[in-house]
Symmetry: C2
Subunit: 257 residues, 2 copies
């Protein structure tokens, strides 16, 4: 069995389920830590900061520092900075994306003449924000969306996700955004750069076939699927392209670290 030099790891459904820990997750990360194998948590959540995500993991006893986390916000900010270091950005989004853009030296502006329009989940979104985003895109701003998740599981039920907010701008302008998050490759490329590994050296671990595993496949990174979250074992046979490996609990993987 190939030994991987580093791990990219999904959060919800892989490390925890909402507010509950997932059995085996802590032990798995402890195992990586003990053997000094680097790991990076990869999340499509654009509203949280690296710090917040890391602290949540710590509450479950999972070893992490803010540097062990890449959010779609961080990947978005890095992606934009690489394209245009002093870019002016019109943003629909919450704290995570605002902070990530500013940390990368980018300007968050409120006018209709920006270089980029970025849409992330925003529970304070208004018609005026959508209007300004549309005007910017029509004026030629590059249109970026942190992730395409159409809904978010909450205690109230499935609420609108960023992919559905993004559709206001794409449907109105006729311009499709560049999506940064899983299953797109952008966040995976940024993750590899952050962890300092080539695609052959890393393994992507996750529970959701349509985001985590597809992201690995799209970025040509081997994948380990775990059935503790969204995609059940019963669906394995019907998958268009199977994961490289699968386990029912991450404890089963310990010998392969």
């Amino acid at each position: 069995m190939k030994k991987y030099k580093g791990y990219l790891i999904d959060l919800d459904g892989t490390m925890y389920l909402g507010k509950d820990p997932i059995d085996g997750a802590k032990e798995f990360v402890d195992g990586l830590h003990k053997k000094s194998i680097p790991y990076l948590f990869v999340t499509n959540n654009s509203s949280a900061t690296q710090d917040k995500v890391s602290r949540k993991l710590n509450q479950f006893g999972i070893k992490s520092t803010p540097d062990n986390v890449i959010t779609t916000s961080l990947a978005t900010a890095k992606y934009i900075r690489e394209k245009k270091p002093n870019a002016r950005c019109y943003v629909i989004g919450e704290e995570g994306i605002m902070q990530a853009l500013k940390n990368e030296g980018l300007t968050v502006a409120d006018d209709e003449d920006c270089d980029f329009v970025i849409v992330g989940i925003d529970r304070q979104v208004t018609y005026e924000k959508f209007a300004k985003a549309c005007l910017n895109v029509r004026n030629g701003a590059e249109f970026i969306s942190t992730n395409s998740d159409v809904s978010i599981p909450t205690e109230r039920g499935m609420l609108p996700g960023n992919g559905s907010l993004t559709s206001v701008v794409s449907v109105s302008t006729g311009v499709d955004p560049v999506f940064i998050g899983k299953p797109e490759s952008v966040i995976m490329e940024e993750a590899l750069e952050m962890i300092g590994l080539s695609r052959e050296e890393a393994l992507m671990v996750g529970d959701n076939y349509l985001t985590d595993i597809q992201a690995g496949i799209n970025a040509q990174i081997d994948t380990l699927m775990v059935f503790t979250g969204v995609t059940p074992f019963e669906k394995l046979e019907g998958l268009p392209e199977p994961p490289t490996y699968y386990v029912h609990n991450l404890k089963e993987w310990m010998d392969n670290i």
Copy 2:
């Protein structure tokens, strides 16, 4: 030339352009009035009331009373009342739709257990409104959208239209709405009922091929296209199905009334 017993007439681009009158519109309506030919203005605007629309026409010297107007809000309310007379409705929308629903005896509610979800243009829309709409649709409410227009022309430029707001709910839930407005047939059927004519007796007049003329075609009502608005004369040849008749100015039609 066939004489029609009644006219269904579009507003923006046919009677006026934003705040400006269109040459020939007043004379055309005067001609109908003089010969006692009934007419009904058909608009995809869901935010205005019949009264408001009629007063705007009067300002341009065009003869109209509120009864001469059918909005998507009115058509939506009539459509729902026919399906379920005492329906409870969760509404994203402005004054026009709220008033139309109440006038038809329907209940506008704020919970997550409604019979219908109705999305109309709402410039005070919030994430919470989208969330409740999604929860209602997931709970089995019938999903209705007043119209599919993806953008609205304004002095600031093209802003998000109801079709783009509607997409938040359809993309998030995976449920497509019933659209009421042009080019769908629902508003045309309600218009025929309101004016008391069969489809063979009426003529649909409008400037926009994709909404007005398509609405006529979809509802099997003859169409008169006028090139004073959205669709230019140059596009006529390439249209998949031509209008029944066309003129450059509605004055040219006076002899056919």
